[in-house]
Amino acid sequence: MTVNGNWQHASNPLLEMEGVSVNFPVKRAYPFSKRRWIQAVTDVSLKISEGETFGIVGESGCGKSTLGNAMIGMIRPTAGAVRFQGQDLYALKPKAFKEARRSMQMIFQDPFSSLNPRFSVYDIIKEPMHIRGGASEAEMKAKVLELLKLVGLDEEDLYRNPSDFSGGQRQRIGIARAIVLNPKFLICDEPVSGLDVSVHAQIMNLLMEIQESRNLTYVFISHNLAVVKNICQNVLVMYLGKVMEAGTSDALFANPQHPYTKALLSAVLDVDVERSHDRILLEGDTPSPIDPPQGCRFWQRCPFAMNGCRTIPAELVELEDGHQIACHLVSGFPPDQTAAGLDRPVSA
């Protein structure tokens, strides 16, 4: 459904998604009642080129983590294709799939639940190599020590358990585990939101150093717009499973077009006490992704919603330089629909 197909002008993307949708079945209330679906991700297309940091932004429940999981083969999409280095990830034979999965890794949000409490640091970091096989114990130990140093931990930490470490240190262990197999592609799913404020910057800087030295491609999933603005080259704004706006970070933050992006940006509380700004306050809550609203997914909370927004889904259109937006305010309605009064504001 994307108008031009490729909104980033990457000729040879590392990862490409085409019309990806992910639906989850809802448990039936009664044995023969109609099956209902959570539409977690609907029709998302994107391209991620090598070496870039790609941001996915949205509120909880908007499908950003599901999209991340679909990227690395953890959740099979209901529709659409995911291509990693040109190969369709979900059409690969199991052996080749495993091979591809090794170059895609993930850093999780919660460093307390993502590390096995019964494993030592050495066991945790070595596990991926152990599963891959083909490395001797000495080789593995040397590699683990090298990585520990890289992420800023000591050699003497090798046989300690995760419970001996603070949140920031645990996240360092998680990072070491993610890069042990020299991946190309790393998904960081809210890597700092579970950590203390003064540690955020340390972990972010570490991630960026690693990216530079190993030429990694990052997908950075976050709800913190300020962080995304500072580190990402391209950004995707999601709402209720759909892409609302996408583009380069510069274009999107300097010139947000979608009412949702604008509201999201203005809702960010800044630490600049002197700068006063008019906030666009959104009313109400995010609707349920089971039976999402017909038409534009955002219309119920949109302060500028028009009659047509209720029934006609907004298509993604390209503005300039790959800046894409799905909003009737920008794309407008065709003349015959305008005549029917679809562009008038929704009457309360």
């Binding site: 509120e59 909880s60 603070s166 920031g168 240190q169 203390d196 404020v197 003064s198 540690v199 955020h200 910057a201 340390q202 972010m204 800087n205 960026m208 709800h223 913190n224 717009l225 300020a226 962080v227 603005k229 500072n230 580190i231 933050f253 509201a263 999201l264 940006l265 809702a267 960010v268 509380l269 800044d270 630490v271 600049d272 006490v273 002197e274 700068r275 906030r279 306050l281 959104l282 809550d285 995010t286």
Partner: protein, 328 residues
């Protein structure tokens, strides 16, 4: 007595732990004026929540050991008040908003009934009148269709609505002091903005003092009038919000402010404070912040600086504040 609503003098809390004692709070003084929102900022483990619980006298002793020289609420001395009388004060004269609404609310009781309870306990209202007040309270915090929502259970409400119910619960009897412990941490940005707006207007409109406990500096910037910065159980700086954010004096405050990413800057790297918070059982000698501080000198390694009070109530605990000439 001045116009102070809450006065805390020299609060100390310690927890016995295997292998030593955890000194969570080490001698804290707090004052809140009428209608003022005071923020207590710090990282996890700095003792801010323990301070809040101690002020409410909700901390179980034992296991904790706490000592307080003076605790006054609106001039009334609560220092040695027995639990029976505290029960009459909690919910009426001071109330608390907790972080996680799902655990703070009773899951098997409708939210309306939970608010009714506050009125039934502290006022002489009948059941019917109490419900009327409940609906009013819910409307005040912006719960739509308050009359029917009062009959829903907590799990039927969204996160933002639940937090509003907690706010309504706390403001039910229009207390003199509201303690909000991380009121919006578990919420999304757009919902956080809504809830903070509600909290702020409730506090301002009804001239209620608030003690806001948070780690989020952006919440502080938008809510507070005065800020206390805590580090490892001690207050390191106190200032009016504008002064603190534009001109921090303590190296820790400066570091915290610099490490927050802002929408308005184009930094490629993040300014970081090295190392982590000291373990509460093994705090370093001298100033607790000195191992992470870039301004330190030899004196910092041996002696804990005193909390100095300067002009216009600004307080600072540092041997080498960022603006030496103005402090001495």
């Amino acid at each position: 007595m001045t116009n102070a609503v809450l006065e805390v003098r020299n609060l100390k809390v310690a927890f016995p732990a295997p292998g030593g004692v955890i000194r969570a709070v080490e001698g804290i003084d707090l004052t809140t004026k009428k209608g003022e929102c005071v923020a207590l900022v710090g990282e996890s483990g700095c003792g801010k929540s323990v301070t809040a619980l101690s002020v409410m006298k909700l901390l179980r002793t034992p296991p904790s050991v706490s000592r307080i020289d003076e605790l006054r609420l609106d001039g009334r001395d609560l220092t040695h008040l027995p639990e029976r009388d505290m029960e009459r004060i909690r919910g009426k004269d001071m109330a608390m908003i907790f972080q996680d609404a799902m655990t703070a609310l009773n899951p098997v009781m409708t939210v309306g009934k939970q608010i009714d309870e506050v009125y039934r306990r502290h006022t002489k209202l009948s059941r019917k009148q109490a419900r009327k007040e409940t609906v009013k309270a819910l409307e005040l915090v912006g719960v739509p269709e308050a009359r029917s929502r009062a009959d829903s259970f907590p799990h039927e409400l969204s996160g933002g609505m639940r937090q509003r119910v907690l706010i309504a619960l706390a403001f039910a009897c229009m207390p003199k002091l509201i303690i909000a412990d991380e009121p919006t941490t578990s919420l999304d940005v757009t919902i956080q903005a809504q809830v903070l707006d509600v909290l702020k207007s409730m506090q301002r409109d009804h001239d209620v003092s608030a003690l806001l406990i948070t780690h989020d500096l952006s919440v502080v910037a938008n809510m507070a009038d005065t800020v206390y910065v805590m580090y490892s159980g001690k207050i390191v700086e106190r200032a009016a919000v504008l002064e603190l954010f534009t001109d921090p004096w303590h190296p820790y405050t400066e570091g915290l402010l610099a490490s927050v990413p802002r929408l308005s800057d184009d930094k490629q790297a993040f300014v970081q404070i090295p190392d982590t918070v000291p373990h509460p059982m093994h705090k370093p000698d001298g100033c607790y912040f000195h191992p992470r501080c870039s301004h330190g000198g030899p004196r910092c390694e041996q002696h804990m600086p005193r909390l100095q009070t300067l002009q216009n109530g600004r307080q600072i605990r540092c041997w080498h504040p960022l603006h030496q000439e103005r402090v001495t």
